[in-house]
C-alpha cells in the first residue's frame, strides 16, 4: 500500500440547500499527479478548499499526510500550497513584491526572501515583469507567478484548481511542463480540471466527480475503456446515402449510431474493450472494416475520424451507467 497524500471519507459540505460535497471518498497516493475531473459545479473547488484548510467540512473526515484538516490545520498548512482558480497573488503589487511578501511570511529573512524571489522570477521567465504590477500581466504570466508563489517553500502537496482554464494553448503547455517538473521533484499534485485531455496527459490516476461524489476512479486508461472506446465520425458525399450508411455502420460496429445535424454526418459510439491497449487497436480495426463495408455498398466517404471519448461522452456515459445500476439495485 503506497503512502497516501490525501484521504477523505464521507466528506460533506452544505451551502444552504446545496450539497456541494456529498459523501466524497478519495485516496490520493503521494508522489504523482491526481486528477479530479468534473463539470462546473461538481464540487471540485469546494473539495479543494476543504483539503487546503480554507473551509470546514460539515461531515466526514479528511486527512493530508495523515493530519486532520480541521483539528491539525496548522500542520497541514505547513505542507501544502494552493493555486486557486483566480490568481492567488495581490494584483496591486509587483511580481517581486508578491514573492518577497510570501517568502517573508514563510519565515525567510529579508535578504534570503529577495534572493528567492529573484531566482523564482528567473526560472519562470518573469524577471523583466518582476517590477510591474501583476494587474498588467497576461493570463499565462499570472498563472506562472501564481505557481511560483506556491513553490516558494517547495510544498509536499500542491493544489492546482483548474490551472489552465482560460489560458491559450501555449500558456497551457507551459503550465503542463511546470507541473511535470514539480511532480518529478517529488511533490504530490492534486489537479482539478474540466478537461479530460489535461487529466489524461498529466494524471496518474483520475477521480471523476459529479454532484459532490466520486462516480468513477482509476487510471486514465481504465476510465476511458470503462466508458467506451470513443467515436467514429463519418462524413458522406451524398446525403441520400445516409440511411444505408447508418444501417451498415450499426451492423459492422455493433454500436449506436447518431445522425448529426449536418445531413451528411454520422457518429458511431464504440463500445469499450476490456483494456486500454487492445482497445485502441480494436477500435481502429473495427472502423476500417466498417469503412470497407461502406465502400462495397458504393457509398462515398469524404471524411472520417476516430475520436477519443470527450469529457461530455465520458461524463454522460458515467452518469447513465450509475443511473442504470441504481435502477437495477
Amino acid at each position: 500500500m503506497p503512502d497516501l497524500a490525501i484521504q477523505t471519507s464521507g466528506l460533506v459540505k452544505v451551502f444552504g440547500k446545496t450539497r456541494a460535497v456529498d459523501g466524497l471518498d478519495l485516496a490520493v497516493p503521494a508522489g504523482a499527479v491526481y486528477g479530479v475531473l468534473g463539470p462546473n459545479g461538481a464540487g471540485k473547488t469546494t473539495a479543494v478548499r476543504i483539503l487546503a484548510t480554507l473551509l470546514r467540512p460539515d461531515g466526514g473526515e479528511a486527512t493530508v499526510f495523515g493530519r486532520d484538516v480541521v483539528r491539525e490545520a496548522d500542520a497541514v498548512r505547513s505542507r501544502v500550497s494552493l493555486t486557486g482558480q483566480y490568481a492567488s497573488v495581490d494584483e496591486d503589487m509587483t511580481g517581486t513584491e508578491n514573492l518577497i511578501l510570501l517568502a517573508r511570511l514563510l519565515g525567510h529573512r529579508k535578504p534570503a526572501a529577495r534572493e528567492r524571489a529573484a531566482e523564482l522570477l528567473e526560472a519562470f521567465g518573469l524577471t523583466d515583469a518582476g517590477r510591474r504590477r501583476v494587474k498588467t500581466y497576461s493570463g499565462g504570466m499570472r498563472r506562472r507567478i501564481d505557481i511560483a508563489a506556491s513553490i516558494l517553500n517547495t510544498p509536499d502537496l500542491l493544489f492546482l484548481d483548474e490551472p489552465t482554464t482560460g489560458l491559450d494553448p501555449r500558456s497551457r503547455n507551459q503550465v503542463w511542463d511546470i507541473i511535470r517538473v514539480v511532480v518529478a521533484h517529488g511533490t504530490t499534485v492534486l489537479l482539478t480540471t474540466q478537461y479530460l485531455d489535461e487529466a489524461d496527459r498529466l494524471a496518474a490516476r483520475i477521480a471523476v466527480i459529479d454532484s459532490g461524489k466520486v462516480i468513477a476512479e482509476g487510471t486514465p486508461g481504465q476510465l476511458k475503456s470503462s466508458v467506451g472506446a470513443g467515436s467514429v465520425h463519418v462524413r458522406l458525399r451524398d446525403p441520400a446515402t445516409r440511411p444505408v450508411a447508418e444501417r451498415l455502420l450499426a451492423e459492422s460496429l455493433d454500436a449506436a449510431v447518431y445522425l448529426e445535424a449536418d445531413p451528411v454526418a454520422l457518429t458511431a459510439r464504440l463500445k469499450g474493450g476490456p483494456t486500454g491497449a487492445s482497445r485502441d487497436s480494436a477500435a481502429a480495426e473495427q472502423a476500417s472494416r466498417a469503412l470497407g463495408r461502406l465502400a462495397e455498398a458504393g457509398i462515398v466517404v469524404d471524411d472520417f475520424s476516430l475520436g477519443q471519448p470527450s469529457l461530455d461522452e465520458v461524463f454522460l456515459a458515467l452518469t447513465d451507467h450509475r443511473a442504470t445500476e441504481e435502477a437495477a439495485a
Partner: protein, 280 residues
Amino acid sequence: MSTTTETGTTYAPAPDALAGVLAPGVRPPRPSAWSASITFGWRAMLKIKHVPEQLFDVTAFPLIMTLMFTYLFGGALAGSPTEYLQFLLPGILTTSIVMITMYTGVEVNKDIEKGVFDRFRTLPIWRPSTLIGYLLGDLLRYTLASIVILVVGLALGFRPQGGVTGVVGGILLVLVFSFAFSWLWTMFGLLLRSEKAVMGMSMMLLMPLTFLSNVYVDPSTMPGWLQIFVNASPITHLVSAVRSLMAGTPDMGEVTWVLVCSAAFVVIFGALTMRLYNRK
C-alpha cells in the same frame, strides 16, 4: 501591451532551471506573530504606495469637515470661528479619524473577493496577523489625516494650551482608540457580502455615533433623554479625553475610560473577527 504578449509567449520552461529552484534547502522556521504582522503592515504600505489615490479619502474628507463646521457653526455657537475652533478642533479631529476607520472594513471585504486572501489563509502563520497588517497600514493613514487636520487647525487659529506634549498625547489616544474600534469593521468586512453593504452599515452606525456626541455642541443644551445617550457614547468620552489633553489639563478618568473601552473593543470584536476569519 506589446511586452505583455512578448514575455507571455516567448517563455519556454527550462526543466533544469525549474528543478533548480525547487531544491528546497532547509525550510526557515515560521515567522513570529510580530514579524508576520509587520510583514502584512508592509503590504498595506506598498498598496498605499502603488495606489496613492486612496489617501484622498483620508486627507480631503477631514479637511472639508474641519473647514465646513468651523465656518458654518463658529459664528452662531461661539461668537466667532476662531473661538469655536478651540472647542471644535479636538472633536473634529477625533470624529474624522473615527469616520475613516470604516475603510478598514471596505479593504478587508475587497480582498476577500480575491484569491490572495485564500493564499494568506493557507499559510502556517499566526492567524490574526493578516488583519493586524491592515490595521497597521491604517494607522499610517490615521496619522496622516491627524496631521492634515492639525495643520489646518493651526493655520486657522487653533492654539492648544497643552503644547506639543498635549497635542501628541491627544492624537496618540485617538490612534489607540481607532485601532481598537477598527476591529468592528474587520468583523463587518468579513460578515457582509459586498463592499456597498459594508459602506452602508458603517455610515448607519457612524453618523449617529459621531453627531450624537459632544463634538459640535455642549451636551447640556440637549434634552435629558439625549444627554443620557450622548454621555454614554464612547466618542463623547474620547473627545473629552482628547480635549483635556490638548488643553493641558489631562482628565485621567476619561483617558482611562477610553483605554479600557479600547481594550474591550479588541477583545470582543477581535475575537468575533477571528471566528469569522477562520470559518470563512
